[in-house]
Symmetry: C2
Subunit: 347 residues, 2 copies
Amino acid sequence: MSRELTVSIDAMGGDAGPSVIVSALARSVQRHPKVKFILHGDEPMLEKLLGKRRARFANRVAVRHAAAYVRMDEKPSLALRRGRNTSMWRAIESVKNGDAEVVVSAGNTGALMAMSMYQLGVIDGISRPAIAGLWPTKRGQCVVLDIGANIECDADQLVDFAVMGEAFARAVLGIQRPTVGLLNVGSEEVKGHDAVKGAAQLLRNASLPMEFVGFIEGDDIAEGTVDVVVTDGFTGNIALKTAEGTAKLVISYLRSALKRSLLSRLGAFLASGALKALRRKLDPRASNGGMFLGLNGVVVKSHGGTDALGFASATDMAIGMAEGAVNKSIIADRAGVQQTSREAAAR
Amino acid sequence: MSRELTVSIDAMGGDAGPSVIVSALARSVQRHPKVKFILHGDEPMLEKLLGKRRARFANRVAVRHAAAYVRMDEKPSLALRRGRNTSMWRAIESVKNGDAEVVVSAGNTGALMAMSMYQLGVIDGISRPAIAGLWPTKRGQCVVLDIGANIECDADQLVDFAVMGEAFARAVLGIQRPTVGLLNVGSEEVKGHDAVKGAAQLLRNASLPMEFVGFIEGDDIAEGTVDVVVTDGFTGNIALKTAEGTAKLVISYLRSALKRSLLSRLGAFLASGALKALRRKLDPRASNGGMFLGLNGVVVKSHGGTDALGFASATDMAIGMAEGAVNKSIIADRAGVQQTSREAAAR
């Protein structure tokens, strides 16, 4: 059950356009009976798509007209300059104005980050926001950040990511004392570049409500060795996409292996329920959404190519982040790190 | 069929010790009837392990005593200083002396690289050697480098990796005009850090026997978008291990899904041949070995935790590299890049 809050939705973002977003909205309205929604976009088009549902949604869904939208391939800097009348800008503005608590968009990631930073601002003490993603593991799931916002990161930024990931894991995933690992090429202290080594040093000395386990390697992510995986946006993005590609490859190998003989085809038929369950478990739509952490407001980016199910999952995540008050946790924990750094500096 | 060459083997490297190496040797002796082998290590122990096979191998296998060995967790710098009497040093020395063409070790990667660089030296014009790995894809396989030797790389180093990967793909995989991609967080020209952007610029202008396709993303690796994936050792190592972890995760999901019901168990039983084929296809032992590229000599690192099958695969790879004369290709192609750079500088 959700407490009362409002979700602002960029209805024009994503590859498939507003029809998918409106279908997703219908799911979200049912799933979250106490939540209200504001749809930003081409009003006549959205009203038409809402159609018969309009009357039923009357008290829960508001439509606000935006004359333009951000193209998927538009340069973020350009979108920021010329985009005040876009559905994305207006959707973020609703959070800035206090009309909504969270915003969800399936649009251009770079533009969404740039506009969110400009309008909402970054939490005091956090150098740059990061994008966090949920990752399936042998033990359940973990949160990985940054998965693409910051190409190059120094030690302090990685520490910020650890703080934000830990706060997210506590506030949203409900893990009391999350374990945190720094992604590296080996677990020995001497391994890696200066940024990861520096971040490890800082995290070892920080007094935070988490357990810092030190360096972890790529295979530890799926193993579920830690609850929070910290890395720079370059490595995190490549790791995420490599994992997606690998999962697809294994499934395609499985599919062709099962077609080899009559016997294996029969076997696959009998096990089809199990194979469907496997596909559901690996369905990227179930954990869809890049969570923007470090902003004064909750912003969730749905995958651009997602369908209604995926967009609704991203909306679930945004609502969960608001309910868990993830930003309050980040602010409190960031203060803890600053305290520790000051103490260290004073020594 | 192999032409006559000699493989030098560090018999003391790896987690499992020399018994695995000797079992692997027995396979290699059979597979490559014209190849000779030199085993470096504790002579009494190796003779005992060879046992009855000793007489049969008499003309093909020589044992050379080394009093010490490099520990798996030893610091490379320390191993380099105090390691002249180790099996690893002696195994590389056989290549340096011309007694063997290639060396294979399952020992400490960092020590093997340091000792190889010290004894064999780096190919003229190549700044640093890289470790290349084979990766299964939807279309067959691709070569990825660097997978761990160089944590931070500039544009010139990435160009070297492209040259070495392309030469490897031609000489060993038999691809006439390999496609080469730079691993990045997006395919647009503006994406990524300075090193990848700079390398892309240089590769676009290089006249090499390859097709440079530009930037690729993590999911392109398993997709088989290119024959050669170029990246720094930090990202490459993490991508490789993330992929290994993901493949294991999918298999473990599959296993538990198939146990769900009697019907799915029966299905799995009927399809067990197909499932075994899948496991074989994903068996990391089949493409075992990190190929050290850029040295004046062929060095292959077998996975430390491998068994006889895996070590024999690494030996196959080393023999293939010698037969394909991969180093000659690297030298020729590197000259092509220098020519192009000089021309560009003269303009």
